[in-house]
């Protein structure tokens, strides 16, 4: 049995690789839907600018999708290398869900990505739009399966257990549509949309600085600001609902992210502080009375279970998720605030003139991704010390691999990812630094790309 250090290293390794990976699919999910919207608008209005913006972001999409495929290959094997006992015990349930994700991704690559990337000149507009739409739907189906697997680990149901502690599927419908799944799916998809909206907005803002009349940059900026004012508040509502669901099924997670130790009526909301796991209290807490009860129970005198109601060995690490949660919520509120500010400027007809709004949006470029990673930290660290909540402990999930091995592989992963994804980031930034022009072309001919997948056939015909 691996020691606690080995488990911690294995967790660090998984957190590192999935933290890198998750950003890329989130980017593709949001961007694919954005592309579908742009193409629909282009069809509906016939305006050139929609097509220009479409082609501008299609090039980014190709690079990001490719990097997502690369980091995804590592994920497909990491469940076995580092979490072998989890794989053996929960594999009959989690495995097929992930299997469907793999096949969906395959199918997506096989069928429609080639047309999206290279098919503009070769298929009719209707077919092209259909391909764009199907790629967007495909990314959502991928998210569906991955989040079904993840949510089942958070709120497991529809299983039976063998005497030696393995999970057997009893009812696939219940497994997939487990209690936290709908909330997590909605919250994650909106998070992807917002992340992309703020990147698009920032790119628009960047190019508006140099050329306030650039129509494509104006369109990006404007669409992003619409997203901020409409979708950021929706996300706050969705997050609230997700929180209520978590409170029902994973109360210890909620107690830890609130930094609450006692169970008392009219629970206060701790704004800031430092939870102390050893002394079982939250130091330097600044709290608003009754607000915690209001937020989490939607009643004035409601009581939220404190961390002390759970045995110490079942408590997630409160300081980590307490702060991760505040970063996520803070950024979410900032996004909504920017949306309101932009709407107010728009109403006055000076959306594109405000220098300060442009700077603010530029500064917020990575905010969506930071919020998304913080959110995942809350939900994953909050599930600890279990992999399958309440049923399978993390310490019983890890592979029988010693500390030196996990350490060495983690070090190698960090070096390789830094080089590979660092370079990829430079390429993406280089693409974004180029101002959008009238008559944008799509992905560059003559450059192989990973995301061309197994249907680069579409790329061939009018090659020189």
């Amino acid at each position: 049995m691996p020691g606690s250090d080995a488990v911690l290293m294995a967790r660090a390794q998984f957190a590192f690789t999935i933290g890198f990976h998750i950003v890329l699919p989130a980017f593709t999910i949001g961007l694919a839907s954005y592309l579908a919207v742009l193409e629909a608008m282009s069809l509906a209005t016939g305006r050139q600018v929609y097509r220009d913006v479409f082609h501008y972001w299609l090039r980014v999409f190709a690079v990001v999708f490719g990097m997502g495929v690369v980091s995804g290959v590592v994920m497909a094997y990491e469940f076995g290398t580092n979490w072998a006992r989890f794989a053996d015990k929960a594999g009959p349930i989690v495995g097929p869900l992930m299997g469907y994700e793999v096949m969906t991704a395959f199918f997506l690559e096989a069928g429609f990505l080639g047309i999206l990337l290279f098919g503009r000149q070769r298929v009719g507009r209707g077919v092209y739009f259909a391909a764009t739409l199907l790629v967007a739907i495909g990314t959502l189906i991928s998210a569906f399966w991955i989040l079904a697997a993840n949510s089942w680990m958070q709120t497991p149901q529809g299983y039976t257990m063998t005497p030696d502690g393995r999970f057997m599927p009893a009812d696939w419908w219940q497994i997939i549509f487990n209690p936290s799944f709908p909330y997590r799916l909605v919250h994650m998809v909106i998070a992807s949309y917002l992340s992309v909206a703020f990147v698009v907005g920032a790119v628009g803002a960047y190019h508006l600085r140099h050329d306030a009349q650039n129509q494509a940059a104006r369109l990006m900026f404007s669409m992003a600001m619409w997203m901020a004012v409409v979708v950021a508040p929706i996300q706050i509502l969705a997050g609230d609902q997700h929180g209520l669901n978590t409170r029902q099924y994973q109360p210890a997670k909620v107690a830890a992210l609130e930094g609450d130790w006692e169970t008392e009526p009219g629970t206060p909301l701790i704004l800031f502080g430092m939870p102390n796991m050893a002394e079982e209290r939250t130091n330097w807490a600044i709290a608003v009375p009754h607000l915690g009860a209001l937020v989490l129970t939607h009643s004035w005198n409601g009581a939220v279970e404190g961390l002390k109601s759970f045995p110490p060995q079942d408590r997630p690490n409160s300081p980590v998720i307490f702060w991760a949660f505040r970063i996520m919520v803070g950024l979410g509120l900032l996004m909504a605030a920017i949306g309101v500010w932009a709407a107010w400027l728009r109403a006055r007809g000076v959306l594109y003139q405000s220098r300060w709004l442009r700077y603010a949006v530029l500064a917020m470029a990575p905010s969506g991704f930071i919020a998304l990673l913080s959110g995942w930290t809350v939900t994953e660290v909050g599930r600890q010390p279990f992999t399958v909540y309440g049923l399978l402990r993390t310490s019983d999930s890890a592979s029988p691999i010693g500390v030196p091995g996990v350490e060495a592989s983690l070090a190698a992963l960090i070096v390789v990812y830094a080089i590979v994804f660092g370079t990829g980031l430079i390429f993406v930034l280089r693409l974004m630094r180029r101002p959008p022009t009238v008559g944008e072309s799509g992905p560059q001919a003559g450059v192989p790309m990973r995301s061309a997948g197994i249907t680069p056939a579409a790329a061939l015909r009018d090659a020189p």
Partner: protein
Amino acid sequence: MLAVVWAGLIAFAVLAYVLLDGFDLGVGVLFAIERRDEDRDIMLNSIAPVWDGNETWLVFGGGGLFAVFPLAYAVILPALYPAIIAMLLALVFRGVGFEFRFRAVSPRGRMWWDRAICAGSTLAAFCQGLVLGGLLQGIRVQDRAYAGGWWDWLTGFTVLCGVAVVVGYTLQGACWLIWRCDGRLQQRARRYARALAVAMLGFIVAVSVWTPLLNSTFSERWFGWPGIALTSPVPILVALVALLFWRGLSRRHDLTPLLCAQAWFVLCYAGLGISLWPRIVPPDITIWDAAAPPSSQRFLLVGAVVLVPIILAYTGYAYWVFRGKVQPGMHYH
């Protein structure tokens, strides 16, 4: 029965991977001796349209193993941990090397990504050989978990398998270049193929002689009755293919060498199957021991039955569209 169907499907995915990604890893390995930029361009352009699809079979194999034979997945990967991690990192490097090479702004950057492609391809191939060898020599299992140490897999046999796979993939790569290139590059590829084929046959013999010595089940399979009825055709076919290969090479056929090289892989794979069946992790775990419950297998089979034929059809179509010789300066990514 369901487990047999799935074992067949996953075996097929792995074979598809070895046949398809084998030649494009081999082309990467050949970067070590093909140093001219224009030649490297042509070599990469010959595989650019197909290599990514080839690699997806590896994900399919891994994902399928997790879903359908979780015990095998949970035992094999920790047992071969360093080799698996090294293989994944090598594939990452090689994969992005492809794209980044063409986007690099300076010749220096390009040179580094060329090295990444070559080293990544070689290391990935070597590690796959290690995994094969490590699996064949057997994995110690206790209480449904790997019970051995760190470097148990590292033996003379696994290193032999590692080198054999590098040589085999490089042979496939050279044969691929014979098919897809012409002129000087094709001539050199013929020379490489000739030398590599001799080496490959040597390695086939070495591995085949060593394998039955690993454990008694293997030797019984290969030399006892009725196993020998199944096994004896394998070496005979290998020799026949060798005959075809040399005839094709000396008559300057374009495609024959590649088909023969792949036939060797198929035959070796069949031999492997004969040795292992019905075990998925020798010496003890059979496919039925390792299988997930029927409900899991059935659930995923529905998707596989629909999607795998479509993926296959697309793969075939892509190869058809990109047939023909690659010319210098021609891009069709």
